[in-house]
């Protein structure tokens, strides 16, 4: 497929050269490197589906700047090293106008130096703070950072008067970055971390860690930072041991799958989440109501699958990119980058984006909603 589009491109380029000017039908090329297979597939898969779906939708409504969009995507198999190679190919061979991707923070950091050198605007779909701190000229990102997740949780704990917290994190990239950020911001909210335990992403039983946490004197709440099945096992073990403390999870489990896996044990669990899982429950006055409801509906219809917040990050990336192109009035890389940096109050699935020269993510803490699981469903907390 890649080859055919390449030939098409060459032909188109030859045609352009013949006429001597770019025709209106000359496509805008959006490059993507995503982890569609491998351990991060449950992130990359909905991301790719989202990009494919919205490129189709945008093209049906006349494209961007009167030109159709063309998606050129590669699967890095959840390996950061491969992401680097594919990004190089996107820049040098495919000559894309914009790059979206880097499903994981590792992949993103492997792509970042390349786009900086080649001066191609790039929106990452990964979480770590390090991607945008310090701000790199050509690198932007859409998801909330793990630091924001920790801050949102600690803020909620502070309001509930909980100050002695046990931290249980996954020893994966996501969990360990979360652990570091949680340790860094705890003091700001007057929180003392009284335990620091870890588990492996594929571990099958965490009762040992939880028993240890249960025995820590004065512990008032437990905060789990992980993705996928691990946090669900923790939740079940938590109920098994009859621990009565409030249980907080990270945004890594903000999907219906978590409730389905953990079942009744998930009752009362609190977590920060983008608006997507609670699209139907947002008040009509919420500025995000329309965008998240539309996205959820379209994704469910097109792919016959549950929309995920991860796919939402890709939606945000593509929409920010096309919005910047429209405002720049061209696909000139420098102009698009400047327009992207000037994004103000752009409402998408993760929240309202307000970019600046020093903030290449542009989301505030309020973009995270605090949710509680009640009666097997999400409940929005204020």
């Amino acid at each position: 497929m890649e080859k055919r589009t390449f030939i098409k491109f060459t032909l188109a380029a030859a045609a352009c050269a013949a006429i001597g000017t770019a025709t209106a039908a000359d496509p805008i090329r959006i490059g993507a490197v995503l982890s569609v297979t491998g351990p991060a597939a449950y992130l990359g898969d909905p991301e790719l589906k989202t990009l494919q779906m919205y490129v189709e939708t945008l093209n049906k409504s006349g494209g961007v700047l009167g030109r159709p969009l063309e998606l050129v995507h590669y699967d890095d198999g959840s390996e950061a090293g491969k992401a680097n190679g594919f990004a190089k190919r996107l820049i040098e061979n495919d000559k894309v106008d914009f790059i979206i991707g880097g499903t994981t923070s590792g992949a993103t950091m492997a792509i970042a130096p390349l786009v900086e050198r080649a001066q191609v605007p790039f929106i990452s779909l990964a979480g770590a703070v390090v991607i945008v701190e310090p701000a790199k000229k050509w690198v932007f990102k859409t998801p909330h950072t793990d630091r924001m997740a920790a801050e949102r949780v600690f803020d909620d704990m502070k309001k509930a008067g909980l100050t002695k917290v046990a931290l249980l994190s996954e020893n994966s990239g996501f969990g360990q970055s979360g652990r570091k950020e949680a340790q860094a911001v705890a003091a700001k909210y007057g929180i003392t971390l009284v335990a620091d335990e870890t588990y492996g992403p594929k571990d099958t039983d965490m009762t040992a860690q939880l028993t240890k946490i249960k025995g820590v004197p004065g512990v008032q709440a437990v905060f789990v930072f992980g993705l996928g099945q691990g946090p669900a096992v923790v939740t079940k073990n938590f109920a098994q041991l009859g621990i009565k403390l409030p249980l907080y999870q990270s945004h890594g489990v903000a999907s219906d799958e978590y409730i389905r896996l953990a079942g009744a044990a998930a009752e009362g669990v609190r977590l920060p989440s983008p608006a997507l899982p609670v699209a139907a429950k947002l008040p009509a006055t919420d500025p995000q109501k329309k965008v998240v409801s539309d996205y959820a509906k379209l994704f469910a219809e097109r792919w016959k699958a549950e929309p995920s917040t991860f796919g939402g990050y890709a939606y945000d990336g593509l929409m920010l990119a096309t919005d910047a192109m429209r405002r720049a009035g061209s696909t000139d890389k420098g102009k698009v980058r400047d327009a992207l940096e000037a994004t103000t109050n752009f409402v998408a699935t993760s929240g309202a984006f307000n970019m600046s020269a020093s903030d290449h993510m542009g989301l505030s803490l309020s973009a995270f909603r605090m949710l509680e699981i009640r009666n097997g469903d999400w409940t929005l907390l204020n």
Partner: protein, 291 residues
């Protein structure tokens, strides 16, 4: 204090029984062919995934379990027929590498056709934990331990008391001699793959209510099962159980009393020590060459 120790022990026994069940599958194929089957983890995955998806589709649990075991056994037979048998009399190392390929293929197929999500299976006897001296144990853990015990006893009888079982042992001792006394060694190998795939599936199904299952769950279960089998001595059913339980308990105690950060390192330290002093594992047979 006692309740804590007991809780760590329960945790270790639960996880250990899972490892033991995975290890038994490794031992079975090793007994029949001298091959370490790295696709064993995928059989475990296939069992759990098939059962979970069938239950989600509305099939009653007992039927779903039976069907899932059949699916995995069929996969085992197909792997043997299409990948192992054509390699015929190749070196054991070649066959081992073929099983790695089979494992990647099975995992890839599951990823494409069964999806990338995590799935749960309802617990067989409810979700209310049993409280024993202040420590808690899930009824599902008893299922895992009980079935592991039954499986090992049944295999013991099979190898010790039946002609077919003795045929398997004979094939592993000396393939040529076994053929000469009229044992259909090709059938024996097929049987071993089918049986160990079915056993793997049983393990995958039993643990699915506690640990959830997904297309890539076989990597971890396969690895830990292999470590348990090597620890106990490859080819020994009793060794597989001891190896599995030892591994599980060491992990749980490390997480409980030292630090969860070292939990995954301890078993490997253990296996290095044991294999250094007892290269055949705890209960492995010493290889003897008769002239």
């Amino acid at each position: 204090m006692l309740s804590e120790l007991l809780q760590f022990l329960f945790s270790g026994l639960t996880v250990g029984a899972m490892y033991a069940l995975a290890a038994v599958g490794f031992s079975l194929i090793y007994s029949a062919s001298g091959v370490i089957n790295f696709a064993q983890g995928e059989f475990i995955m296939l069992g759990g995934m098939s059962a979970a998806l069938l239950v989600q589709a509305g099939v009653p649990l007992p039927l779903a379990i039976a069907l899932a075991v059949l699916v995995a056994a069929a996969a085992g037979l197909i792997v043997e027929k299409l990948a192992i048998e054509p390699a015929g009399n190749s070196e054991v190392v070649t066959l081992v590498i073929i099983t790695i390929g089979a494992s990647l293929t099975l995992r890839g197929l599951a990823e494409v056709f069964l999806g990338k999500g995590n799935h749960a299976l309802p617990a067989f006897s409810g979700e209310d934990p049993l409280v024993i001296f202040g420590a808690t144990l899930m009824p599902q853990s008893l299922w895992v331990m009980g079935v592991t015990l039954v499986v090992v006893l049944a295999l013991g009888l099979f190898f010790g008391r039946t002609t077919l079982g003795k045929g398997v042992l004979a094939t592993s001792c000396n393939k040529l001699a076994a053929q000469l006394v009229g044992i259909n060694t090709r059938f024996i190998l097929l049987l071993a793959f089918g049986l160990s795939a079915a056993l793997g599936a049983v393990g995958g199904i039993l643990v699915a209510p506690m640990t959830y299952t997904s297309y890539d769950v076989g990597i971890m279960m396969g690895l830990k099962g292999f470590v348990a089998a090597a620890l106990g001595g490859l080819g020994s059913g009793f060794g597989a159980i001891v190896g599995g339980l030892l591994l599980g308990i060491v992990e749980a105690m490390t997480a409980g009393y030292i630090s969860s950060a070292y939990k995954d390192a301890m078993p490997f330290v253990l296996i290095l020590l044991i294999l250094f002093f007892l290269p055949q594992g705890l209960f492995g047979k010493k290889a003897t060459d008769r002239v």
